[in-house]
Symmetry: D2
Amino acid sequence: MNFASDNTAPMHPRVLAALERANAGAAMPYGNDPLALGVERKIADLFGRDCAVFLVSTGTAANALALAACCPPWGSVYCHPEAHVDDDECGAPEFYTGGAKLVGVEGAHGRIAAADLDAALAGAGKGVVHHVQPAVVSLTNASEAGTVYTPAHTGALAEVAKRHGVRLHVDGARFANALGTLGCTPAAATWQAGVDILSFGGTKNGCMAVEAIVVFDKALAETLAFRRKRAGHLFSKMRFLAAQMDAYLEGGLWLDLARHANDAARRLAEGLGRLKGAALVHPVEANEVFIDLPEAAIAATEKAGYRSYRWLGPGTQRLRLVCAWSTRMEDVDGFVQTAAAALA
Amino acid sequence: MNFASDNTAPMHPRVLAALERANAGAAMPYGNDPLALGVERKIADLFGRDCAVFLVSTGTAANALALAACCPPWGSVYCHPEAHVDDDECGAPEFYTGGAKLVGVEGAHGRIAAADLDAALAGAGKGVVHHVQPAVVSLTNASEAGTVYTPAHTGALAEVAKRHGVRLHVDGARFANALGTLGCTPAAATWQAGVDILSFGGTKNGCMAVEAIVVFDKALAETLAFRRKRAGHLFSKMRFLAAQMDAYLEGGLWLDLARHANDAARRLAEGLGRLKGAALVHPVEANEVFIDLPEAAIAATEKAGYRSYRWLGPGTQRLRLVCAWSTRMEDVDGFVQTAAAALA
Amino acid sequence: MNFASDNTAPMHPRVLAALERANAGAAMPYGNDPLALGVERKIADLFGRDCAVFLVSTGTAANALALAACCPPWGSVYCHPEAHVDDDECGAPEFYTGGAKLVGVEGAHGRIAAADLDAALAGAGKGVVHHVQPAVVSLTNASEAGTVYTPAHTGALAEVAKRHGVRLHVDGARFANALGTLGCTPAAATWQAGVDILSFGGTKNGCMAVEAIVVFDKALAETLAFRRKRAGHLFSKMRFLAAQMDAYLEGGLWLDLARHANDAARRLAEGLGRLKGAALVHPVEANEVFIDLPEAAIAATEKAGYRSYRWLGPGTQRLRLVCAWSTRMEDVDGFVQTAAAALA
Amino acid sequence: MNFASDNTAPMHPRVLAALERANAGAAMPYGNDPLALGVERKIADLFGRDCAVFLVSTGTAANALALAACCPPWGSVYCHPEAHVDDDECGAPEFYTGGAKLVGVEGAHGRIAAADLDAALAGAGKGVVHHVQPAVVSLTNASEAGTVYTPAHTGALAEVAKRHGVRLHVDGARFANALGTLGCTPAAATWQAGVDILSFGGTKNGCMAVEAIVVFDKALAETLAFRRKRAGHLFSKMRFLAAQMDAYLEGGLWLDLARHANDAARRLAEGLGRLKGAALVHPVEANEVFIDLPEAAIAATEKAGYRSYRWLGPGTQRLRLVCAWSTRMEDVDGFVQTAAAALA
C-alpha cells in the first residue's frame, strides 16, 4: 500500500536468487570476475552495439559520473528545472564535474522542447571566456513528471545538441518504464536517436542497488574507470553488482517489471481521474501519477494506511503516486475505492 | 585456494540470509527504515557511547568521506606512505576534500611512531599561509603490513595529534582483524585512545559491500550527511546496507570471522617460516602474511593453483598472502606442503 | 568617447603616483610591509569598525573568495539572475566553493525583493539531504542594471537572510557609485544594514587592479588567508595592491571619482531620454544607462566613433552606456547631440 | 641590504615607465588592447616559435594553471620535494587540478636525475585504476637550491617524460637567472629540449606582478583561457600586465637584470666561501646562496641590519641569501666584510 516511491519496493526474487548464486566461492575483485565481464557483453547485446559499461550502485553516482565524463569544470549542463540531477542530488553533478553549472530549460510535463533548447544554447555565449561553456544536455526518460520522450523527440534534441557541439545524456533511472510504454528497441530510444551516454537504472525497478553507465560514444569512456574508482564507486566484490544486472536483463525481466508498474499507474490514473474534483497534472505515460484531488479523498486514503506524497508540501492537494514492479492491483483498486468512497 | 586478497571471499551465509529477510515488503527509503535506524543504535552499543553512524558501500568511500569531514581543501592528511588512502584509492581523499595533500610519515612494519609524527607535524608550518595546514592523521588498523596498533600506540599518536590540533582517523577496513588480535574492546581501540572517527569495515570480512563511518566526535558529523548524498553514496534502499551490518555484528559474527582469518594467517606464517630460505617481512598480527620465499616454492604453489600476490612485481620473490573468513585450513596446509615439497 | 565599459578607463593620476612612491627600495613581501598593514586600518576606519581585509587584483577573485568563505561545496548562493557572479565569471564561484549552486531570484531593475528572497529560501529544502543547502545571498550594489540598493532595502534582505540562517554578501565592484548616489556612510550601506562580507571595488573606478574583501563578521575571515594564497591571489609585492587602495581612499578620491561618473551617466540619460523613440530601461542611479534608441541614433553614434554596447546582441537597439571617472562631459554631450541630430 | 628574497625588490624604472605610458586614455579590456596582443607576438619571437601566451599576476597562478592544463584530477605531478609547487603554494596545484597528487622525486642540489624520474614513473602503476595516473613532470629552473638545469639535463628528463607519456612543465619563476647563467637561447632551454609548457617569471626580476604561461604544445592551451578567467586571473585592465612584460623583454632588460643578480650572488658566495667555518650547501649557479656560517658571523650581519633567511629555522646556522636586480655590490661587499670582521 505504499505509493510514496518506487524506492520503497524490495528486490525481485530473481535478483535475490542471483545474489545467492553469485555468492559461491572466491571471485577476482574489482570487476575481473566472469559475471562482471559477462554483463558488459549482455548490455552491448541489448543495445545492439559496442559500448562501454560501468556499473555503480546508485542513480546519483551514475548521473554524476556520466555528466562529469561529458562536461569540464567550466562547462554547463542543460536540463529541465525539475530534473533529478538539478533538484535531488545535493549538487552531485557539481561535485563530480568540479564545479559545472546546471542550466534549466523549462518545458511542459517535464520535457524540454527542441526549439527551447536551441534558443538556450544559442544564447549561452559559446567561446566567450566570461561564460561557462555548454557541454551537455541531460534528459530524463521517463521524466520526473511521469512522461516519456519518444525517439523522435530525443532525436530532435540530439540534432540541436550536435549542432551546438554538446553531448546528450539520458538519465534513465526509469528507462525501463519509458521503454515499456514506447515499445521500441533500447537502441531506437538511445544511440540511434543520438544519445551519447545513458544512466540505465535497475534500483527502482526490482534490483537492490545497481545502475549501469552505458557509453555509446566510447571517447567518453576513457576517464570513467578512474573517476569511478576515485569516487569510491568501484566495488571490490563487483560480482554482486553484476549479478543484479544480469538477472534484471535475463529473459526481459526488466521490461516485464516496468510494464507491470506502468499498468498499475495507468489503472490508478484512470480510476482517480473519474472522481469528481480530480485533475491529472501530467499525462500518465510511465509509472507515476500526478493528480490534484479533493482533501477529503486524500485524507481518507492516508487514514486507510496508503502512503503517497503531497507534492507541493504538507497540507496541499497535489499527490504524486508511484507504482513499482511490486505494486499489487488490489492496492491500486483499494486506493481508488477509498478515495471514491470519501467523495460519495 | 585464493590468497590474493580478502576481497575475493563471498558473503557469509548469515549476511546473505539477512539480505533475504530485509527483502520482505516495502520500506521507507534513504535510511528511514527500522533496520537502518536500528543499526545505528547497535553500533553505538558496540562502542559503548553515543556516536553518529553513516553506512556506505565501499572502504574508499568511507575513508574519503571521513577524511573530508576532518580536513579542509588546504589541509593535509598525515599517514604511512603505504596507507591505502594514499596509495590505492586513485586520489579519493583528494577528490572528497577538494584538493588536500597526503603527507607520508615512514615507519617500520606499516606503523607510524609517535615521535616521527610529532616531528613531521612540528615542521609543517602550521599557521603559515604558504603551506597546507595539518588537519588529520590517518592510521590503518590492522595496517597494510598486517600489523596492529595497540591501544597504547594509538593513544600515543592521539596525544601528538591533539597537541598539534589535528584529528585522528582510523582506517579500519580490517578493524575486526585488529580487534581479533588485540582482544580489547572496540572502545579501548578507538575513542578511549583518542580516535575521532573510524572507517569500520565489513566488506573484507564476510559482508557483500558495507562499511560504517563511526563518528565519535559528533562535531565532525555535521557535514557528512550532505557529503554522502552528494557523492552518490546514500542508498535509496538503505535497508540492504543496514541488513549486512546488522548480521555482521549480531552475536559477534564479525569477531569470529576475523579470528578465523587471523588464525589461518598465523598458521600459514608458521608453516612457511620454517622453510629454508623463507623470511617473514613483517610480524603476522592480523590476516596478512608478507614473506620472502625461494622462487621454486612460489612457482610450485602457483602451478598447483594457489593464487597469491607477488608484492614487488612480476618475477619477484616477495609474496603477500591474505586469509579471509572463508579460508580453509586445508588450503593453508596445502599451500605450506606444496611449498615445502618444492624445496625438498 | 568610450562608453563600452568602465573597465576601459586608465588609472587616476593619484593612483599612478602612489605606485611610483611605493616603488622606493625594498619592502617585505606578502603583505608584511607598512603600506599593506596601513591599508587594513584605513579601511577599518572608513567603515567605522573592526574588520578583516584581504586585497586581491580582480573583482572575480574578490567575489569568488568571499562567497567561498560563506558557502560549503553543497551550499547555494542566492542572487539576481543577471548577477555578475552568475553570468560573467565563467563559474568562478563554483570553482572556489568546490561546486556550490547559484540560484537566481528574479527582480525588477536588477534588484531582488525581500519577499521573493523569502519565498525562494523557504522552498529550498533546508536540512533535507537531497537538496543543496542555502548558504549565502549575494547582492550587487550598484546593481548590474545601474540601480542601487538603499540601506533599508539591504536591511530588509538581511533580515530575511538572517531568519533563514544564511549570510549576506555584497558585490561592490561599483560600491563607490552606489554610495555616491546614496549619500550615506559606508557603514550604513553595509554592516549596519546586516551585510556580512563585501567585495569593495577599486578597479573600475580609477585603480589599475585592486579590490578589497572586507569581512565584517570576522568568523568568516578565518579561511580566507589560505584560500587567497592557494588561489594564487596573494601578491608577493603586495605593496603595489596596497598603494592603489591607499590612494583610492585618500581624501575621498573614490567618492569624487564615482560621483563624476554618476553625474555623467545622469546627464547622458537625461539628454537621451528626451529624444523621440528613446526609452530608458532602468532608472539611472549609478554610472550605467540602459536605453532603447532608434537604430538611426545608434548608427550615427557608432559612425562618429563612440563605443557602446548593444546589450541584446548585434543588430538590436538596446544600448548599455557606462560612464567612468575619466568620462568627459563633452563626450557625453557629443553623444547626445550626435544621436539627436540623427533623429532630427 | 635585504637578502631575504628577490620578492623584496621594487620595479625596475623602465617597467614603471611602461605602466605610465600604458595609462594614456581608454583601452579595450580583457586583453583585447594592442599592448596585450603585441606581447604575445614578442614572446613568440623570443622563443623562436609559435606558442600560446597567458599573462597572470603571480607565479603561483602561473604554475597552478599550467599544471592544471596538463593533469587531470586523478593525475599526478612529479617534482623535486623542495619544489615551490609542492611546498610553498598552499596546495594551489591541488586546487587548480581538482585534486591531483604531487609526488616527490629526490635529487641532489634541487635537481631531479633522469634515472630517478624513470624509476619513479615506472613504478607508478600507469593504467591501473587504483593509482593516480602520472601526467606531468615539473622542473624548477633555476631551482629552489639556486642551481640550473642545462638543456642536456632538461632534454634527458624530457626523454623520460615522453617515454612514459607525461608532459614536461618548467617553473621558471627565475628562468631569467637560469638563462643568465646558461647563456643559451630561450628555445634551447625549453621547447628544443622537450619542454611543453613554461611559467616564465617577471615578478622576482624587476616587474611588479607579471608572469607568462608560455604554451609550446598548443593542444595544452585550449582550456587555459577558461581556467584563467574562472580563477579570477584575467585582468580587465590587461594592458597593465602587458606593459610590464613588454618593458621587461624590451632590449633584453630581463637578461641584464638577471645577470646582475647572478653576479652579485656569485660575488657573495666567493666572499663568504673564503671565511673560516663557512661551507656552501649548493653550487651557486643563479641568484641564491645557501651557506652554513658560524653564528658569530650571522649575528654580526643581522646586528648590522642585513636581512637574510635562516633556512632551517630560528637559531640555526644555514643562511639563504638572495640577490636581486636591485642588489648593490657595496651591500654584497658590506655583508662579506661584516661577517669576516666578526670571525677575525
